[in-house]
């Protein structure tokens, strides 16, 4: 990964403006499309309700979730120096899912417990993967991917165990939610996810310079005066917060954190000062588009959005793995 010279800031700016325009266009298209046709110039009460109570919160939540997951993915990839580090593949999403389920079982009436528990679950999973993957020789791709697989399957089995132990009806909706499902979007869920997405993107972007140096090597970064331990803690914490709130709102939407940062790096190189904020915008575009497909493809029925993102993401993962 090459770190581009500051001169590339200007094309970066143009690229960013282009992405923002594309995001605006995508949001516009997504709001136009849905299982119900709306005539936008003369909306009756019911159509207003469809637009403002159902479609708009869902589109906006999708954008926030996409931004959060892409930023988490981009930062973890730079920190672990591995383009395959992705919240879903590392088991971080599953940790958040387990946390959400536990909150649902033990604090059913306290909705705010879900993102908090999701964050805790994501943090534990992140820490576990990191401890397993690092070795004296450093952290190679195989070790990281394998550790992710182990944590993912272990957490999955706990989730399955939970669903078998607890009354089936109570957790029935979870089976679909686990695949990543935006159909339960509410405007309140959006506010929290949006706030965390914005704060997370700003904080992680502020670590971009340190991450750039750490991509060369942690020892070199340390010599340049980077507080490696502190940066690592910040990245892990905010990545877990981003993934946690996203999962609590919409389940595990997979592969967003893999595809989006990869495409951004292909386009503008691997300077994290650009990759992280641009991943946020592109992640939003990607999930909003995927969810539009999920809403429209078999209308009036629905697909889980995670199925659509995985359909695009899994082949991409194989491609990246082979290229490595």
């Amino acid at each position: 990964m090459k770190v581009p010279s500051p001169k590339s800031q200007v094309p970066g700016l143009r690229f960013g403006v282009g992405l923002l325009l594309l995001l605006a266009f995508t949001l516009f298209i997504a709001v136009l499309l849905g299982s119900e046709k709306l005539s936008f110039f003369e909306l009756n009460e019911q159509q207003k309700a469809i637009l403002f109570d159902i479609r708009l919160p869902r589109v906006l939540l999708g954008a926030s979730v996409g931004a959060s997951l892409a930023v988490a993915g981009a930062s973890l990839q730079s920190l672990l120096r591995n383009p395959l580090a992705e919240p879903y593949l590392l088991g971080v999403s599953n940790g958040a899912a387990l946390g959400t389920m536990l909150a649902f079982v033990f604090f059913a009436n306290f909705e705010f417990a879900r993102p908090v528990f999701a964050f805790l679950g994501a943090s534990v999973a992140t820490f576990a993967v990191y401890q397993m993957a690092k070795s004296r020789a450093g952290m190679n791709t195989e070790r990281l991917v394998l550790s992710g697989v182990i944590v993912t399957t272990f957490l999955s089995s706990i989730i399955v165990l939970l669903t078998s132990l607890i009354d089936a009806a109570k957790l029935r909706s979870f089976t679909f939610w686990l695949l990543g499902d935006l159909s339960q979007a509410t405007i309140n869920g959006f506010y929290l996810t949006f706030a965390v997405a914005i704060v997370g993107t700003i904080v992680l972007s502020s670590q971009a310079k340190a991450l750039n140096l750490m991509m060369i090597g942690e020892r070199d970064a340390f010599d340049f005066g980077v507080e490696v331990e502190k940066v690592r803690l910040i990245i892990f914490t905010f990545a877990a917060a981003l993934v946690g709130t996203s999962v609590a709102a919409s389940g595990s939407v997979g592969y967003v954190g893999l595809i989006v940062p990869h495409l951004i790096r292909l386009a503008i190189g691997s300077d994290n000062r650009l990759v992280i904020p641009f991943s946020a915008i592109s992640g939003a575009i990607f999930v909003v588009l995927a969810d539009t497909v999920a809403r429209v493809a078999i209308a009036p029925r629905e697909l889980p959005v995670g199925a659509v993102t995985a359909l695009i993401g899994a082949p991409m993962f194989i491609y990246l793995l082979r290229k490595n």
């Binding site: 849905g34 299982s35 119900e36 009460e45 019911q46 309700a49 469809i50 109570d53 159902i54 479609r55 009354d167 009806a169 109570k170 029935r172 909706s173 679909f176 939610w177 499902d181 159909s183 339960q184 509410t186 809403r295 209308a299 009036p300 029925r301 629905e302």
Partner: protein, 306 residues
């Protein structure tokens, strides 16, 4: 050196695989003597399969609560040697050994019970174990009722299988009479537009292939999702909102105690036409489904039953 070891390893694996294949060919799976001597007869199930079954059934296993209820209703509960953990009606089911639940029945337990026939509904993932049942020479009969008439047919066929044909005819006769009475009372009234909700948050409902669409129809209603493909689709919230149902039926379970927010301005919620129905009764295509029919009809058209 490394290659040498690898070669040995691969050879060993091949030997083991080869040995297992050989062993697989040689071991003869002990077959139960169900079909070998006893006279058999042929029946056709809901998947269009022709099934050879023993002329006289003494031991049957049911893999779905509705099939268990049908067997008991025709008076052959004593022939059930295994039922699922979901089977909770009638009371006598408690004493029958459990073979797991409908979704993941335990094939070993089933074989150990030596049934002559296994009654299956399409809600089981039958592909997983039909091969094993075939190898064990255990017949299985698959039901997939999509209308009220299909439910009558299931009762007839299962009655026939367990040797209680007359009793099954009698039961179906009584059920038909009750349905005719409901239809006579609700015929004159206008159809009520009904939404059937199974879970509040993920908004599962009934589509055109569900017997409940027929049930609502006969109760003097019309399912607003009657044209949606498949039997139990997850419906888009926008569409649900646009459907504007006049009544909502809730299958009574813990995650389904009130209508989805999408319905908050619907006539159903505004006029408080929200009705709960016991989930076990509404979700089982068995004789008790007519109880559900009567309850729905009374809820939709209270005046017709005064």
């Amino acid at each position: 050196m490394k290659n040498f070891k690898l070669k040995y390893f691969v050879t060993t694996i091949w030997l083991i695989v080869f040995g297992l294949i050989l062993a697989g060919c040689r071991i003869e799976i002990p077959k139960s003597d169900n079909l070998t001597n006893a006279p058999t007869r042929e029946i056709t199930d809901d998947l269009g399969r022709r099934v050879q079954i023993p002329a006289q059934i003494k031991r049957a296993v049911s893999l779905a609560p509705n099939l268990t209820e049908i067997v008991f209703s025709v008076g052959a509960g004593d022939k059930l040697v295994g039922v699922t953990s979901f089977c909770n009606y009638p009371q006598e089911t408690q004493k029958i050994p459990k073979i797991g639940d409908t979704i993941s029945p335990n094939i070993e337990t089933i074989i150990a019970l030596k049934p002559q026939i296994v009654l299956v509904s399409t809600s089981s993932q039958i592909e997983n174990f039909t091969k094993t049942l075939d190898a064990q020479n255990i017949a299985y009969f698959v039901t997939n009722p999509q209308t009220l008439d299909d439910i009558y047919k299931s009762i007839h066929q299962i009655g026939d299988i367990v040797g209680k044909k007359e009793k099954a005819d009698e039961i179906v006769g009584t059920l038909k009479k009750r349905v005719a009475d409901v239809e006579a009372r609700t015929n004159a009234a206008d159809d009520v537009r009904v939404f059937m909700q199974f879970s509040k948050d993920s908004l599962f409902t009934i589509g055109k292939d569900s017997y409940m669409t027929d049930l609502i129809n006969r109760a003097g209603g019309i399912s607003v999702t009657k044209d949606v493909v498949t039997a139990y689709p997850q419906l888009s919230k926008e569409t649900a909102l646009a459907l504007n149902p006049e009544a909502i039926i809730l299958s009574d379970s813990e995650d389904n105690q009130s209508p989805n927010d999408a319905f908050k301005n619907s006539p159903a919620v505004k006029n408080n036409k929200i009705f709960k129905i016991n989930a076990d009764i509404i979700s089982r295509p068995a004789p008790r489904i007519i109880d559900a029919l009567e309850q729905i009809a009374k809820s939709l058209h209270p005046k017709s039953f005064e």
